[in-house]
């Protein structure tokens, strides 16, 4: 369904490209430095890009009262939520796959630690962002200042996940220690917030 309009993916891609370029002007790092800061840069870029996309997930449904249709339809709300979250997850993963080589080129990145761990961090971290983001987007769509509300409630709640992602990424890139604690933290975070989102999504969907 998302493929009908390529607005979201295109704006996300372009947006994170801009972030990459602007950061590289702002910090002008050498290869050594960039290994230290890239973990933070990458995730901040993806976080902002994800917010741009997440804001649109439910907005599209609102336009033709599709959300009301979902509400009266017999389909379970969890299914709707999982589908939305998976769709967003796929989106952000595609974005990351496209953007990762650009990061490598622009910042002369070369990982000291094993690369497959980066993939695990990326998958777990993306799910953490997306599951909360999808949930809070469904909430912020009901408020008066829609677009600005999502980051306002998403960022504070996501701080532990962000910390885990950034630190794990930096550890792998610099080969400095093993990120197993952060991977566990991310996993726990993912499990808890996926469960809570599923539990509470019905009341958000039906809030009137």
């Amino acid at each position: 369904m998302e493929w009908r309009s390529k607005d979201a993916i295109n704006s996300m891609l372009f947006f994170s490209l801009l972030v990459v370029v602007i950061f590289s002007f702002a910090f002008n790092p050498t290869a050594e430095e960039s290994r230290l800061i890239a973990g933070g840069l990458i995730w901040v870029a993806f976080l902002f890009a994800a917010v741009v996309a997440l804001n649109q997930t439910w907005a599209r449904e609102l336009r033709n009262q599709v959300l009301d249709a979902y509400r009266v339809s017999p389909a379970p709300p969890h299914a709707l939520f999982i589908a939305k979250a998976l769709g967003n997850f796929l989106f952000v993963v595609i974005l990351e796959v496209v953007m990762a080589p650009l990061f490598v080129v622009f910042y002369q990145l070369r990982s000291v630690g094993p690369v497959w761990q980066l993939v695990v961090v990326a998958l777990l971290g993306t799910w953490a962002l997306v599951v909360n983001g999808t949930f809070f987007a469904a909430m912020s769509i009901r408020t008066r200042n829609r677009e600005i509300m999502l980051p306002l409630i998403l960022f504070p709640i996501s701080i532990p996940a962000l910390l885990a992602m950034v630190d794990a990424t930096t550890m792998i890139l610099t080969g400095d220690g093993t990120p197993s604690f952060w991977l566990k933290t991310l996993l726990v975070y993912d499990v808890i917030f996926t469960a809570v989102s599923l539990l509470l999504f019905e009341s958000v969907l039906n809030a009137e």
Partner: protein, 229 residues
């Protein structure tokens, strides 16, 4: 207002006066830190009250989602507001104490960072309450209340681990070494007094919110009658 609530408020004010006297006059000046240590009598009780408020907020949010009871929502609103006020006091008094004692205003230590994140979460809660539209406010904010409360332990443990990996040199000036009896005495009085102040503020705010709800319901009723005529 009922006489019993007035009595309770008067009692709380008296208790607060007594505990302030305890903290500023009776308690001895701390040997190494000097008078600045007295801020401790306000800092820690405020943190306790903030924690209590956020816990009440969590309970009230859960009750609201379960029973759809507007009074529970009023309680959630009241506790979040009072909690943010006390959390702000903690965040202001902390640096005032830290500057002369640690030599810096702020450090990204586990407790400090957790308190800051806590504050951010509940400020976003209040922003959401402010901007949510009409009848959805209660559900949305109750949901965020639950999310926020669940987030706090994760924040604490992740940051604690993060910071023990990179210890900061200024740590170790905390109150870990146990309290001398006269200081403990004054501290406990203040803890009690602040707990009562917190409860009074929450109760007053709760009644205000209930009144607001009644006014709103009356307006709605009036509008409906107006349509019928």
């Amino acid at each position: 207002m009922k006489p019993i609530s007035i009595a309770f408020i008067v009692f709380t004010l008296a208790l607060l006066g007594f505990s302030t006297y305890q903290a500023l006059v009776v308690a001895p000046t701390e040997a190494t830190m000097g008078d600045v240590q007295r801020i401790f009598y306000y800092h820690v009780p405020s943190a306790w009250v903030a924690g209590m408020c956020f816990f009440v907020n969590f309970l009230a949010s859960a009750v609201y989602l379960w029973k759809k009871n507007l009074d529970a929502d009023a309680m959630a609103a009241a506790s979040a507001e009072v909690g943010v006020v006390f959390c702000t006091i903690v965040l202001i008094t902390g640096p005032i104490w830290a500057r002369p004692v640690w030599g810096i205003w702020w450090t990204w230590d586990a407790r400090l960072t957790t308190t800051l994140v806590l504050w951010l979460i509940y400020v976003s809660y209040l922003v959401l309450r402010r901007f949510a539209a009409g009848g959805q406010t209660q559900v949305l904010s109750a949901v965020l209340g639950i999310f926020g409360f669940l987030d706090v332990p994760i924040v604490y443990f992740s940051i604690r681990w993060f910071r023990t990996q990179h210890p900061s040199p200024v740590m170790g000036g905390g109150e870990d070494s146990g309290l001398a009896p006269p200081i403990l005495h004054a501290f406990l009085w203040n803890l009690l007094a602040f707990t009562f102040v917190g409860i009074v503020l929450m109760a007053v705010r709760y009644h205000l919110q209930k009144m607001e709800n009644q006014v709103e319901a009356a307006h709605a009723q009036l509008a409906l009658q107006g349509d019928a005529r």
